[in-house]
Chain length 318, copies 2
Amino acid sequence: MAVFTPVSLDDLTQWLSQFPLGKALAIKGISSGIENSNFFIDTEAGEYVLTVFEKLSFEQLPFYLELMRHLAQRGVAVPAPIANADGSIINALHGKPAAIVSKLAGESQMSPGPVHCYAVGEMLAKMHLAARDFAIKQPNLRGLSWWRETAPVVLPFLPEEIQQLLRAELQFQEDFAETETFNNLPNGPVHADLFRNNVMFDGDRLTGFFDFYFAGCDTWLFDLAVTVNDWCIDVHTGGLDETRVAAMLDGYRSVQPFSIDEQLAWQPMLRAAALRFWLSRLYDFYLPRPAEMLTPLDPTDFERILRQRIAHPAPALV
Amino acid sequence: MAVFTPVSLDDLTQWLSQFPLGKALAIKGISSGIENSNFFIDTEAGEYVLTVFEKLSFEQLPFYLELMRHLAQRGVAVPAPIANADGSIINALHGKPAAIVSKLAGESQMSPGPVHCYAVGEMLAKMHLAARDFAIKQPNLRGLSWWRETAPVVLPFLPEEIQQLLRAELQFQEDFAETETFNNLPNGPVHADLFRNNVMFDGDRLTGFFDFYFAGCDTWLFDLAVTVNDWCIDVHTGGLDETRVAAMLDGYRSVQPFSIDEQLAWQPMLRAAALRFWLSRLYDFYLPRPAEMLTPLDPTDFERILRQRIAHPAPALV
């Protein structure tokens, strides 16, 4: 994450006293990501991750942190939130909500092969099943409603031909969302942002999913489409690598087979997943916020992916 | 068509006396096709086509011939049936039902370009609209029920790996047919067999669709998928030629835009259209009927097309 709220070692030392983690030894900002301020922290109890939430409120946060606790308790490898002496997992730091979670072993696999894609698909399906009985409900806050709000804000920055693509795709997704096929899709809490940098591997062993702060209730297929659109593409063209796609789908299917409605919805959902990140990157590109260490992401990557998904659909989800 | 029932000039001379076409001058069997016996006939009134129906009954035939009359009356270029002195358009010949229809100008375009595909798509949509108020109802007799009956008959002739493909696809199509998306598709009388050899062109001008003897009530999208699977492919690989596909869809869309359900159903329907002809060719290959001039068609062409549609879906139907 970019660091929007600086936290010094002195700040941390004072704040950490409420947790059963001993003294603070070191703190280091994490540069990846764009929505929260994240830090690696060393304590006498070991290494953890501190997140200061820049946009999410005290009211919104229990969904994310309780979901992580829920999943961790069911054997899904995710960071476990650490409670303070009062049992609270969300506590103010510099006036903003903040949380400490356990640090996953390993590192991100930015050049994944089929073995990594299979493991991610398999664990994604296990996560969907494990989250089914999670009690707190919250929609995906970057879903269709947000697309509808955001498109008019970014459209004026775009050339006419690109405006047409964006308008046509938004209309298509609005029509799609009203079909019975869409309404029949299995849904529940999903990660909704499972890019390569939000998964850890120790060699070829998947050690966990993290950064659940875009999670929400949505279709499982949307989650899978977001994941395929990052893990299984040729990054130069945005086209799909069929071997990696097949591996990820095999992994998912080994846990949970695809329904007929999921099969019908697969191509539209890959487009929806591209649209969602195209819109957020357009927004962050044309309406940037002040931040330290912010690395802006290129919105045209997802414009290219959307065009690819329209012109060259993925293999059928059999 | 292959000629299953020979008709001599003497036979024709006698039979033709009931029609207002003058004397019979010549008769010539037509070799293409596999379901009826067809002949070009020269009469004092001009050139016509005589069809002797090998499988279709007197009860079934009004659907086809009245549909042709209905379409011709609404400006869709199709052969017009000729009535005899009693006003009947279906009359026995060698104990089988037979009919005479007007002959279309031009010839089949077996190497179509985008201009031909656009014209076919455009006229196909016009035909679907013109057929909406046709009063006689008959299902597509080569639809899902027939696939269900036929698959068990041909499966024993196939190697295990190909059996698996056929079984899986039939199951997929059965599931698909039960979805709301399928049930929402616009439907009505369709040609259902609009291959290149069933369309005439005079240069680049489309002069008509013919051979309506597989017509029935089905989804418009099925008709379009059958047509795309023949007109818009690389015949060596079974892969789609995107330029010709785009031209045919542009032609169709210029008359009738695609609904959201048609967009969702496009890939499954291209597979359905491949399955239908794979099954009938398997049947004709492994359980052939006696016939003169019969040219058996290779069933593996449509097995290849089906595999292509699964692995490399068509561009989105936007």
